[in-house]
Subunit: 278 residues, 2 copies
Amino acid sequence: MARTAIPSENLLAATRHPLLAGGKRLRPALVLETAALFRGQDPEYVQLTLSGALAVELIHTYSLVHDDLPSMDDDDLRRGQPTVHTVYGEAMGILVGDGLQTLAFEVLLSGPGSAERRSEAALVLARAAGLCGMVGGQVLDLEGEGHTPELGRVRAIHEKKTLALLEASVEIGAVLGGATDLQREALVRYGRAVGLAFQIVDDILDETATAEELGKSPGKDRSSGKLTWPACVGLEESQKEAMRLVQEAREALNPLHTMDLDPAFLQDLSFYIVDRRL
Amino acid sequence: MARTAIPSENLLAATRHPLLAGGKRLRPALVLETAALFRGQDPEYVQLTLSGALAVELIHTYSLVHDDLPSMDDDDLRRGQPTVHTVYGEAMGILVGDGLQTLAFEVLLSGPGSAERRSEAALVLARAAGLCGMVGGQVLDLEGEGHTPELGRVRAIHEKKTLALLEASVEIGAVLGGATDLQREALVRYGRAVGLAFQIVDDILDETATAEELGKSPGKDRSSGKLTWPACVGLEESQKEAMRLVQEAREALNPLHTMDLDPAFLQDLSFYIVDRRL
């Protein structure tokens, strides 16, 4: 193929910008730590799971770049840095997001090891990211702006927009690590509970944290009429629900103990998610 | 997973809009006809190649939806229909494109048959669509607007923006059909020549055809300062180069004859590509 191996300098810089802006790297951590439960079952384990970890962060980053665009949430600040479109223009913001999404699949599919596992992991990623998952959630989110806060609607938005990819990160770790169906199911239950807890805490922090802590503009949800968990039930009940979900996440991991697996890190991570201040 | 199986009605309608607007379906035809050369080698052949054909059309359609956005080429008309963003708004135009890209990988990866072939085909698709392929080409295209027409630059734009996906369509057909390395190489050479011929003819038609024939606004390339083949060498030389490339494409298929394969359809298709009037 006559194509050059690297994109133009400007595109490369614009693509690196959101990837190197930091962030918690929660999704790749979920992939790596879930796969680590099964360490040793696959000789090409490390490189394979790294490609999965990179893929979920690429999808997450693409979604942030597009969500921040002027015609979407119109944000100037992300992870404490100016957003891609404010630096490189709107067209480049769209194209960088497009390219990051493609790169996620390229990275995952070009990894080493079993084609079965790579292909299955990429399918889990596509289902979580697409029209019935993350993209569908962003549509519900935009359509919901200005509506009366109602928990059913907020749950539907959160489930698709945030939870789908968090749950998929755990599931991809399970697939790449070589989990049995039973182990995979338990881990997906964990991912679902942790994912919703994470988003509820995110909603809470948008009301209580400073811009410096958040790395983005606070109070933005409320001012733009976004539907959030606290807007439906208040801050205190939201905090309680997050704690309940963490308990649910921990219980979901119980079957793993009897399978000689040690999910200590995943348990600790669920506490970090509700305790985090930034 | 708690996600509903279908996206919101509005998103579904907006996603169907560009897919059902027609078009030549050249890319899926290339997948199907290339795979058809090897008919019978895979019992789940038809469904597998259909998923490949659908995937390339989904990627192509996503790229059109995004290219037409106000911050990109700002087009109101595509395939004789109003563009997605003019009907559903700019945010939805971005999200529909995003979802179509994801769906391409979902469709291809959830197909039947060999995980090896599906995974390999999806990787070919990702490489063609991404930062070093189609997305990179659109960046070069936007960056090139208003520059003095220069053949090297035009070739680089065309190779990435259009040719990459056309070539990949042939290669995906070869992979899904079960081609040998030698057969795959010959077919990729065909795809590359046919792809460039196609884009040169597209450039010519933009100057010579009517809006009704094109299904989009004619003369748009020239008025927006796009770098085209005729802008570099004139209409007559462009037509000659397209004819030369068709000859090159036909010659690339020669080795297949000696392998007991019959590429008659692909040969005819290369003629159609330069002869088409719409």
